[in-house]
């Protein structure tokens, strides 16, 4: 029967192409607006490394100003970065299965085969960064704990940097100059562009990943400042880099991998113990306010999905609602107009349910057509937005991707919406007694 209803629907469309086109277009417009806003929402809301969501955590401790909370809008938030001393202090814990501390620096890289000297961004971090965030390696691998401790002058290159410096060849063992110092390549990453850049959202959720990775202790040796965020609340006499390291300025980020709930509790206790101990030394004037965020919580705390994203999504769905109300009205008008024919079918033996399903199928076909048209329109819209804004916003491939998942969702929403929209009109047309349509036409 379904195939029969499909055929009848198509004939009905052919009889009234203008009205059909209007209905499809109404749904398509609503769906396309939803699709564009959904695309940017989903890109921001994507949870990277979902299988590790109960394993990776970012600790926050509140070393901030007793007079003012760190976050004026949400006083319960602790600072998202740590001081050098606290980063080292947290790193000292033996509880985590893996751990890292890091900051973002920059400097001129030179010495590659064909490469003109270039200012590159560097992630100063520990060797566990790579297994923790599951970075893919093209050549070589991460450095080990011994290299961290040394520190050994080793470096991991991004694929693009390796391309520029060594033409993409296996450069493990070769050396480069960074800040005029020799570093030996131990690994080259494969293409890796996590979006959102969850581990450094305070700088930019969709920023480029760094171009090289260096053991964090070199930052101290080479006295590198942070190219990322640095925040200080306390009046301190900072005359040297050493003073800076000892200050209350926050510029480090920490992550830990805890593979069991027991370890999570143990680490939480460790955080509390650490802060209490620091308080006894005169630091941490604010009340105890430690947090341990998993990736999802971290992204929420940092509002990766911004209020604009959410507001636009709401608007889009409100608009879709208007489109649907419109469609219900059009369907009602169309079906009631065709009521005499339905009356004849009833006389010929169709039950109310047959008429209902026939017309619901028709609504469904319109809905699917509208959904596909809307999805394609949405893809075109995303493409157009990328082309327009891409002239001055750098990261749009990641924040406005061509998202086939969203396309499928859009068609699904449309089908559901169209069927809901068609329920009342299809029911209405089945309800009238067939006799009333047969004599008086």
């Amino acid at each position: 029967m379904f195939a029969y209803y499909l055929r009848l629907s198509l004939q009905s469309f052919r009889r009234n192409p203008g009205l059909t086109a209007l209905m499809v277009m109404a749904i398509a417009l609503g769906i396309s607006v939803c699709m564009v806003t959904l695309t940017s929402y989903r890109a921001a809301a994507r949870i990277p490394l979902p299988h590790k969501i109960e394993m990776l955590f970012a600790p926050n401790v509140d070393s901030w100003d007793p007079a003012n909370p760190y976050d004026q809008d949400k006083a319960t938030n602790a600072p998202d970065l740590q001081t050098y001393r606290d980063a080292r202090g947290l790193y000292a814990s033996t509880i985590p299965d893996r751990k890292l501390i890091m900051f973002k620096a920059g400097g001129v890289l030179s010495g590659g085969m064909n490469m003109a000297p270039e200012y590159v961004s560097a992630r100063m971090t520990t060797g566990d960064f790579f297994p923790m965030f599951e970075t893919p390696f093209l050549y070589g691998n991460a450095w080990d704990a011994k290299a961290d401790a040394g520190p050994e002058p080793v470096v991991v290159l991004s694929k693009e940097t390796n391309q520029k410096a060594f033409g993409g060849a296996n450069s493990v063992g070769k050396t480069l100059l960074w800040h005029d110092r020799e570093f030996r390549v131990v690994g080259v990453l494969d293409h890796w562009e996590p979006a959102p850049k969850f581990y450094d959202v305070s700088n930019g959720s969709f920023d480029d990943p760094e171009q090289i990775y260096v053991p964090v202790t070199w930052g101290q040796i080479m006295e590198l400042g942070s190219d990322g965020n640095t925040n200080c609340w306390k009046t301190e006499d900072i005359k040297s880099y050493q003073d800076f390291m000892n200050s209350e300025c926050i510029w480090f980020e920490s992550w830990v991998e805890l593979r069991s709930p027991a370890k999570v509790s143990a680490y939480r206790k460790f955080l509390d113990d650490y802060v209490i101990d620091q308080k006894s030394k005169g630091r941490f004037p604010r009340p105890l306010n430690n947090h341990l965020y998993n990736i999802e919580g971290w992204m929420q705390r940092n509002q990766v999905v911004g209020t604009d994203n959410k507001a636009m999504l709401i608007m889009a769905f409100a608009f879709l609602a208007v489109c649907l109300v419109n469609t219900v009205g059009l369907l009602l008008a169309k079906f009631l107009n065709a009521a005499p024919i339905a009356g004849v079918r009833r006389a010929l033996g169709a039950s109310r349910r047959d008429i209902f399903w026939q017309h619901l199928t028709e609504s469904g076909v319109i809905a699917v057509a509208g959904g596909i048209a809307g999805g394609l329109l949405g893809v075109a819209g995303v493409w157009a937005l990328r082309a327009w804004y891409g002239r001055f916003v750098q990261d749009l491939e990641r924040s406005l991707p061509t998202d086939y998942g969203t396309f499928a969702i859009a068609v699904g929403i449309s089908l559901a919406a169209g069927i809901i929209a068609g329920l009342y009109p299809a029911w209405r047309i089945g309800r009238a007694a067939p006799a009333s349509y047969l004599k008086v036409q």
Partner: protein, 403 residues
């Protein structure tokens, strides 16, 4: 004219009318809020930045060899840039206004962190900054070449003189608005800075910050090895000069890194991108929603007329004039529109309230609501006008025709 019979007839054939009322209600709610937010964003984007931001570009430069003479590089680059035809002026600067990246700190009107306080975005630069930025000094004067501290090492504290925006100065000295030049403010170490000049207006790094217009130009450059250059061109020469400057800088000294050139306009558009996107999306949605509502009303009115030709004919046959028919349908439409508008008002207010609570958007201005109600009413009546006219043309003979 008897609205009650119209009302009871509407009640009996309610579904279509109800749908239109719902559509009008939703339209009002959406359009009022969307237009309001759009206007907000457009004003936000349209604020004057105080800079000549259509004619400026910036680039980072870094030296890298050991014993690289950073200041010599700056002197040589600046000398070359400043005499290139087409360039108004150029200055070394730590960060670029409107770019989203910058530094800020807190100052006090009295030592020991006492008195009034205000945060400010600061730009370490030389005496050419005022002309390069294109800001207007409406009191006092710029700092001089001798004021500029070319710092070889990262020292703390600011030089003792600065050029600041009026808003920042007034925040520190609210009672002395006519007498700001020469006033002294203090950092958190009680180190003093004297106001040499007042800028009428200038925007700093973060356009989303409510204190974006609190800016300080401070005469300090260094310690390197990297710095940014801000260049101001004559009107119409931006693209040409960007290309020429890149070539000239690389040629003058190939042993340092000349980074990516980017216009200040580009930075500005990037900073305002999300506001712009929001405004565009809302404008598109508003236009579409209004179109749909008009079409929906038109469609229902037409449908109404088509299904009731016998009724119309009968009315005419018993004495109604053409304009009685028109007023009947317009009255019917008016009832539906009114119902929709009333419900829509409630929805618009509720929606505006919820949006401002959830998302920190400002509270809906009632002007917009009134405008929306009036506009939608007019739209509703206009859309039903043509179908009503068609109804009037129905022949009285329709009363007797049976098919």
């Amino acid at each position: 004219m008897g609205l009650r019979p119209i009302f009871s007839s509407l009640m009996r054939n309610g579904a279509g009318a109800l749908l239109v009322a719902i559509q009008i209600a939703l339209t009002l709610a959406i359009v009022v809020n969307a237009v309001f937010v759009t206007k907000q964003r457009v004003s936000h984007i349209g604020r004057p930045s105080g800079l000549d931001d259509q004619n400026q570009f910036a680039l980072p430069v870094t030296g890298f060899e050991k014993d690289f003479d950073f200041f010599a590089m700056i002197r040589a680059d600046m000398a070359m840039l400043r005499q290139m035809p087409g360039i108004v002026d150029a200055a070394p600067i730590n960060q670029i206004p409107l770019s989203g990246g910058g530094s800020s700190t807190q100052f006090y009107s009295l030592p020991d962190k006492k008195g009034e306080k205000s945060p400010v975005a600061y730009y370490g630069t030389d005496e050419h900054a005022v002309k390069t930025l294109g800001v207007k000094l409406d009191d006092g004067k710029n700092f001089t070449a001798t004021d500029v501290d070319y710092r070889p090492k990262d020292a703390q504290g600011f030089p003792g003189t600065a050029v600041v925006t009026r808003v920042f100065a007034e925040a520190l000295f609210p009672k002395e608005k006519d007498n700001l030049v020469g006033k002294t403010f203090y950092d958190d170490q009680s180190k003093p800075v004297v106001i040499a000049g007042i800028m009428e207006q200038m925007h700093g790094a973060w356009v989303g910050w409510d204190k974006v217009d609190r800016v300080m130009l401070t005469p300090v450059v260094g310690p390197g090895p990297g710095i940014r250059y801000l260049v101001r061109t004559e009107p119409g020469k931006l693209d040409a000069m960007m290309a020429a400057v890149e070539v000239a800088l690389r040629k003058r000294d190939p042993n340092r890194v000349v980074g990516k050139l980017r216009s200040v306009q580009n930075f500005k558009q990037s900073s305002y991108a999300s506001d712009s996107l929001m405004a565009v999306t809302l404008a598109v949605v508003t236009g579409l929603v209004l179109t749909f509502s008009a079409l929906g009303i038109f469609g229902l009115a037409t449908f109404n007329v088509n299904t009731r030709t016998r009724q119309i004919g009968t009315r005419r046959a018993v004495g109604a004039r053409k304009r009685d028919i028109v007023s009947y349908f317009m009255a019917e439409n008016w009832m539906v529109t009114t119902l929709g508008v009333v419900v829509g008002c409630g929805l618009a207010l509720a929606g505006g309230y919820w949006l401002s609570n959830q998302f920190g958007l400002p509270r809906l201005d009632l002007y917009f609501l009134v405008g929306g109600v009036a506009g939608l009413w007019v739209l509703g009546q206009l859309a039903a006008w043509q179908p009503a006219l068609r109804a009037a043309k129905v022949s009285p003979a329709m009363a007797t025709r049976s098919v």
